[in-house]
Amino acid sequence: MTRPAGSTAELGVPVNPIATVARKEWLDVRRDSRWRALVVVTLLLMLASLATGLAQIRRLEAEHRAAEQGDRRAWTAQGAKNPHSAAHFGQYAFKPAGPLALADPGVDAYAGNAAYLEAHKQNEVQFRAARDATLAARMGRLTPAFVLQTVMPLMALLLGFSAFSGEREKGTLPQLLSLGVRPTHLLLGKGLAGAGVLLGLLALACVGLAAGLRAIPSGHEAQAGDGLRTAGLFLAYALYLVGFLALALAVSARAPSSRSALVGLLGFWLVNTFVAPRLATDVVDEALPLPTAQAFRDAVAADKRALFGHDETHPGFVAFRDRVLARYGVKRVEDLPVSFRGLSLREDDEAGYRIFDRHFGRLEAEIERQDALRSLPGFLFPMLALQPVSMAMAGTDNRHHHHFVRAAEAHRRAIQTAASQDLIDHARNGDESYVAPASLWDAIPAFHYERPGAAWAWRGQAANLASLAAWSSACCLLAWAAARRPRLS
């Protein structure tokens, strides 16, 4: 900007109008006692949520360790025993609470945390902790995710709703514009100040989270992926909050009054935060219904009827016996060099694996399809896209749960295979009294769950992150368009 010709005063230091506006807005916020109170309350909420979350996770972690040790004790204390009998006794796979559940406990309380790994049967994961909580617990959970998803957007709205309309009502807007300031510079300055407040708080939350993660005495080595996951959380929440701020600025620039801007924005906040997630639950359940437990178990049982199990009169069993006899070129089971019982168990198990893969795979796919449908309107109601990203980065969504389920099932199969192999190698045909030495139980490892990496979590959320980015950019464009010609009267 050039100064008018004939200027007598020496030139001052050039200033950026955007920075000037941002500085002034920041000063306003800093001098407003209500804002100071709001920021303090939000920080306290975050702190309280981190503290209680930390206490919770440390307890869960200790319980998890105790449960694993207890189960190992029971497994190794079996003594000399038929290996298949031990396979029936089985092991338990306990789902560890990932450290990032501190940020967002997600579906953990609703998905169960223990899978019984027994012979012949893949069991569903049991013990939903939510069943042990009160009715009121489902109204809200004090977690950083809750503060960031519901309280912080409210703050974004309060920062933005009167940005233009308030100046208009005060009378400062025409004055500002008469100076020759670009209205979009006003927008950027105000946006910058607001985003500074919001992202500052978000960054503080992430710092608190990082500090919390260090305080979790995790038996599992701290994964390098935690940083990338935290970055994903920051990105998703930053898009969400900036979008809300931009929306508030856009509405403020065009609304007839601050009051109507506020009422409209609160309406959107309410719908986005509370109504949309619940409507989505019902719509998704009706559009893509899941089978009842009864139907699911019946379907598995129906398919399993094709397997011979322990039924030696089953045609499948007879056919398998004839195949084995032919392969070894013998006439009688007693002449086989290996344990026929072991072979038939392995054969039966492997056929069972295909059935379980099909049914559980379908159920998991149905649940993940429900989740995809649920987050589809995320570009309109960003909460629907944000929640899955938040849970995925925290490792507490359905997809992570299914990853655990598959890992547990893989371990169950490892136990079955080891037990059958021991029979095949060591039991003699016709001798029912074979027992494996107690050392075999030590040789079969305990279940150890390895969380999937951050890249895996990110990949699963590409669509939702794109939705969030689309919503956020649309809000920014809207703000830009609205602020180019702000309403003046």
Binding site: V13, V15, P17, T20, D28, R31, P174, L179
Partner: protein, 239 residues
């Protein structure tokens, strides 16, 4: 230089707020616009500011068309509304700094800002108080200081003295005289015939969107102006 060239503005609903206004305010002149409410005075100011777009004609600020390049036009002019409004949480000095930073793109230091406030007749010892306690007169003076900081070539005043006590109004009139002396082209909308007579070089009387009469203040006195005003209003009513 402020120049209106067949400036016309229709509002939605077929209301003609301004009807082919032709007007020229050269540097160093104060042109006062008189007229009853709804005569189109404020619309004229808003057209120069580029807050509204003309239906026909042009509003030129030092040759820049306000419709085609409102930002460039605004950079050349200063605007003092009926009520200069300031940010309550900031001090007078901080308000001035904010507005002058945005107006000029340059940061003036504290001393320079105080000089500007002093030239605007502002009691500088009040400059570091939050503005929530300022009187209207003090706020108008901060507005003038902004205009001074901006070194505007044209000044638009929209009923700047309404609600000021006679003493403050008089002081304000003298300030305007100073600004005129600096070579600004000043367009002032007012209801105050006395102020118009005192400051104006020329006075235009508007009625229903038209400039119905223009007088040179040297050629008349306050009573003459009043007579002309009432006459112009009656003529317009009769037609």
């Amino acid at each position: 230089m402020l120049e209106a060239d067949s400036l016309t503005k229709d509002y939605p609903g077929g209301v003609r707020a301004l009807d082919s206004l032709d007007l020229k305010v050269p540097p160093g002149e104060v042109f006062c616009l008189l007229g009853p409410n709804g005569a189109g005075k404020t619309t004229t100011v808003n057209l120069f500011l580029g807050f509204v777009e003309p239906t026909a004609g042009r509003a030129l600020v030092c040759g820049v068309d306000s419709r085609l390049d409102p930002l460039a036009a605004r950079r050349k002019l200063a605007y003092i509304p009926e009520n200069v409004m300031l940010y309550g949480k900031l001090t007078g000095l901080e308000n001035l700094r904010y507005f002058s930073d945005l107006a000029t793109g340059y940061r003036l230091d504290r001393g320079e800002l105080l000089v500007l406030l002093d030239r605007a007749g502002f009691p500088v010892e009040e400059a570091d108080r939050p503005v929530s306690g300022y009187s209207k007169g003090m706020r108008q003076k901060v507005g003038i200081a902004v205009a001074l900081a901006k070194r505007a070539e044209a000044l638009l005043l929209d009923e700047p003295t309404s609600g000021l006590d006679p003493l403050a109004a008089n002081e304000f009139a003298r300030l305007i005289e100073t600004l005129r002396g600096e070579g600004m082209a000043i367009l002032m909308v007012t209801h105050d015939l006395f102020l118009a007579q005192q400051c104006g070089v020329r006075v235009g009387i508007m009625r229903s969107g038209r400039l119905v009469r223009t007088l040179e203040t040297v050629a008349t006195d306050h009573l003459g102006l009043e007579r002309a005003y009432l006459e112009a209003s009656r003529v317009a009513e009769a037609s």
